[in-house]
Symmetry: C2
Subunit: 558 residues, 2 copies
């Protein structure tokens, strides 16, 4: 079988250009970039800041239906669309999130597109890249060590060890670190207390890196982070600890957007990588602004389905960018919709128009959700070889009935050439007059905002709060944080908070377990259902199939 890695390795050898050339393509000089090897670069501060102000292109957001085990290929379509837009002369750029090593070593393999629609150098991007993720882990855990040291050295700030909200982090899927007791071993070894590790992408520092618009803004946001509460329930911030400068220093290079290329040489900014289920799910606004400042059309992506990444992009990320999407592309596959229609994974190769029609409700709900924001919407059908012409036509007809055009794309096999029709359509609709309708206003109460998201986007009947969540609500009110937007942590597999409910459920209750104010990032995380902020590894981790030979050539990184 030809793997994404094999295609990347084969084509990188022949096709990849020095990153200085890619930079030149979009008017970036040698001084505008800091190269990391021949094929990766970071923007300099000067270039990063300059591109924030540059005349902006049009923004295309790529999102999708709820993911299924059948695979959707959203990153692949995002890259293929960028390549296609370039092919038809639209001078496109791409902005994507950085892969997290946790899932790479676990189940997912690479996260840089696939086939002939990939970002390269694929191995580097999927492994340590330019070190952003590691800088975030280090900054996160240095802050944690400084907090525990503060307790140990006399606890001048009167921090209640039972109410420390700041958790440790690793960019690793490690379920055994979800709940730990630290500080054991007697008085020289810290204050014993309960703690836990999140995956780094769920760290508030990752959200801050992605939402800050300058180094100075990042330092202010870091200073505002609430790490916990005193014995008399007053919030304690990083500024109170006196280490906002040191933590920002550890992120001084990580804040600079990274530049790479697609196999077709489309300039690709890959920067920041919050998951969309447990965080806000979009690359950094600095990278998106850089893509907007260097391309006539910038294509970006939001994580998982439009209920998570899409909603959060519209309500959290786009306001921070200061630029709403000029068009939205929703990726779907015939296979995934049939799976939503009740077909078993093993049977997805068999044509089944009836199941497709049943499963279409999931796509339909996401179309309606994105339409309600008042931006033009279109659908990309990521075609697999087994899909029948009849099925493709049926899906196009179903979409047409809901007022959107759907385009079959074959970018995995054909690169940008496989998305030309989609690209032509997108290039047209980005210029359509728009009328943005926000989902909620920040002055609504937390409960109102959550109810609006749950009812309008998910299709829920109501929202139920645990006792802990109610206590959290009172604390949020007491501290005057109710004006922040909401970032829902929810399973990606369903519109509801139950991973097993496919299609477009309605009449269900959204269960809010607890609420975590992230005052540095500037949102409140609502933990729903049994979503976890630290994934686990499967029975047969992908790591077991990975290898590297004596010349550094990697195998098994799909």
């Amino acid at each position: 079988m030809t793997t994404d890695l094999a295609i990347a390795q084969e084509n990188e050898q022949h096709e990849i250009k020095p990153i200085t050339e890619i930079a030149q393509q979009v008017g970036l000089s040698a001084d505008d970039i800091e190269v990391y090897g021949k094929y990766k670069a970071k923007l300099s501060y000067a270039a990063m800041n300059r591109l924030q102000q540059q005349k902006q292109g049009k923004l295309v957001l790529v999102t999708s239906i709820n993911p299924t085990p059948a695979g959707e290929g959203k990153s692949t379509v995002t890259i293929g669309l960028g390549d296609a837009l370039n092919m038809i002369g639209k001078k496109a750029t791409i902005a994507l999130r950085e892969p997290s090593l946790g899932p790479v070593m676990g189940i997912k393999g690479g996260a840089t597109g696939g086939g002939y629609a990939q970002a390269v150098p694929m191995e580097d991007i999927n492994l340590h890249f330019t070190g952003d993720m590691h800088a975030l882990t280090t900054a996160n855990d240095t802050l944690a060590a400084l907090i525990d040291n503060h307790l140990q050295q006399g606890n001048e700030l009167n921090i209640d060890p039972r109410r420390i909200q700041w958790k440790r982090a690793l960019d690793i899927n490690d379920r055994a670190l979800r709940n730990v007791v630290i500080g054991l071993g007697g008085h020289a070894n810290g204050i014993p207390r309960e703690d836990g590790f999140d995956i780094t992408v769920a760290s508030e520092l990752m959200a801050i890196l992605c939402l800050a618009d300058s180094l100075a803004d990042m330092k202010e946001r870091i200073g505002r982070i609430v790490i916990g509460y005193t014995y008399d329930r007053k919030p304690v911030t990083v500024a109170d600890l006196g280490v906002a400068g040191a933590i920002t220093m550890l992120l001084k290079d990580a804040i600079k957007p990274n530049l790479v290329q697609s196999l077709a040489h489309t300039p690709t900014f890959i920067h920041g990588g919050p998951f969309a289920n447990i965080a806000h799910g979009a690359n950094s606004i600095l990278a998106t602004r850089a893509a907007l400042g260097t391309g006539k059309i910038a294509v970006t992506e939001a994580g998982f389905g439009a209920d998570l990444g899409g909603e959060k992009f519209m309500d959290i990320t786009a306001p921070a960018i200061g630029h709403l999407p000029d068009a939205v592309v929703i990726v779907a596959t015939i296979r995934a919709l049939k799976y939503n229609g009740g077909v078993k994974l093993a049977d997805l190769k068999t044509p089944d128009v009836a199941a497709l029609k049943l499963g279409y409700v999931n796509l339909q709900k996401h179309i309606q959700n994105m339409q309600r924001y008042g931006r033009p919407v279109t659908v990309a059908i990521n075609v697999f070889t087994q899909d029948s012409q009849d099925e493709i036509q049926t899906l196009q007809d179903l979409c047409a009935a809901d007022g959107v055009k759907a385009y079959p794309t074959t970018v995995w096999a054909d690169g940008g050439a496989g998305a030309k029709a989609l690209a032509e359509h997108v290039a047209q609709i980005v210029n359509a007059p728009t009328d943005f309708k926000p989902l909620y206003t920040n002055s609504d109460t937390v409960e109102e905002k959550l109810a609006t998201i749950a009812r309008t986007i998910y299709g829920a009947k109501d929202v139920a709060y645990t006792g802990e969540a109610k206590r959290d609500l009172r604390q949020i009110k007491r501290n005057g944080w109710t004006g922040l937007p909401i970032c829902v942590a929810k399973t990606q597999y369903s519109l509801s908070d139950n991973a097993k409910v496919l299609g477009a459920p309605s009449g269900f209750t959204l269960h809010v377990r607890n609420l975590v104010p992230k005052t540095g990032a500037g949102f409140i995380v609502a933990m729903t259902g049994d979503i976890l902020t630290m994934p686990g590894l499967p029975k047969h981790p992908a790591a077991m199939d990975m290898d590297v030979d004596e010349n550094g050539k990697i195998t098994g990184l799909f």
Copy 2:
């Protein structure tokens, strides 16, 4: 006060050369290096492998007396000596360890020399550098997650959770993570067990990175790591888990030596950073061989005093390099020797020849220890402005009586010009005929080897083993690991295992708490006294004084 950081920042602006130029100076082409920004590079695999075979220069080892709060400046002298050797036309290169962020954020500040004898770019090297330390942390903790996942998924290998030897790691001083309980929270969240975090520099992977001579050797060593034991006490290796390839893959770039420069443009390989108290304390053999392959004289350094870094260099590192030091330089300060002679820290500015004579016994013991290996030895007196001429002359006379020349050096203030006389002498003695006498042979028993180190190097009367250490000895014998050399983990502040005993103690007992076989690194760690493998932060961590402005300029990183 002028800080090392301020001098580095000032001089970097005016003096620093593109790393491509530094590479050219020693015959490395643009294809031989992979640049990380303008001033840092890694060797390519081809260059790394080629330099292993290249005709080799002479090797100078810089070591020191036991460190005191007064400061010795061993890295500063190492860099200054390299610069001085270049000044007198000897075409020198330097090989150093990478700083660990834990101490940087804790108490130490930077670890790249000082004043006008520094490696640059100072900020980058002291913070994330080229990501080696983070790659090691990630590889270490990915392995840990794979072990706990193995337990969770059925434990096919029958691993006893109480006998897992592999610990987690962070490059952070975090005492609260020394002893933890993980896997809490019910059946979905792992198997509860006791665990702990070491600082990354103490990880066996760091030792392997520093002792492997190729990527293939690294993979074999990683496969041999014993992560723990089965319920019937059989060792379980990384190869048994089937993940040696994946863990090596995570280190495929970290294994490549980094090239930077001193302020005087001496090519400086900085790679790998095991501490000498809790690990073997020398930079990678790949970096030292690269320095030997590119310079006529390569100057390298071993951590802490000659009892730790010096002894381990002679007995563990040099055999792995395949090249013994052609000369040994021992760094001492008048201040530190007076401190050893009983003078309080606050009174060290006052001339005190009597105290100097008393404290000289510490230097004398280190001179004798290094002389016994049969290599030429000399002393560098790192002169402080308050040192009196009388004191300096006294120290030179004392050294002369023990058969070694001692040279005052002023490299902090004067750069290489402050070590010219030392350099002339070193350039001469590296050509002296030598007669190497190893301290022990690997076929000695573990107890014999430990007794030899304790008596000959430390001055101990005998070695005492706890019950746990005795059990460890039996296990080591049962598994046939007795032929490995010994890496003693001991306080750096004393020749004994008690940090408070200064001078040159004798008649004491060395207390061995436990023994940890590191079969991948190829040595047995003997934990003595109350040495810890995870440091803590002080009451006022250095982090509290660090800051970065809106343009990325750092302050407070001394």
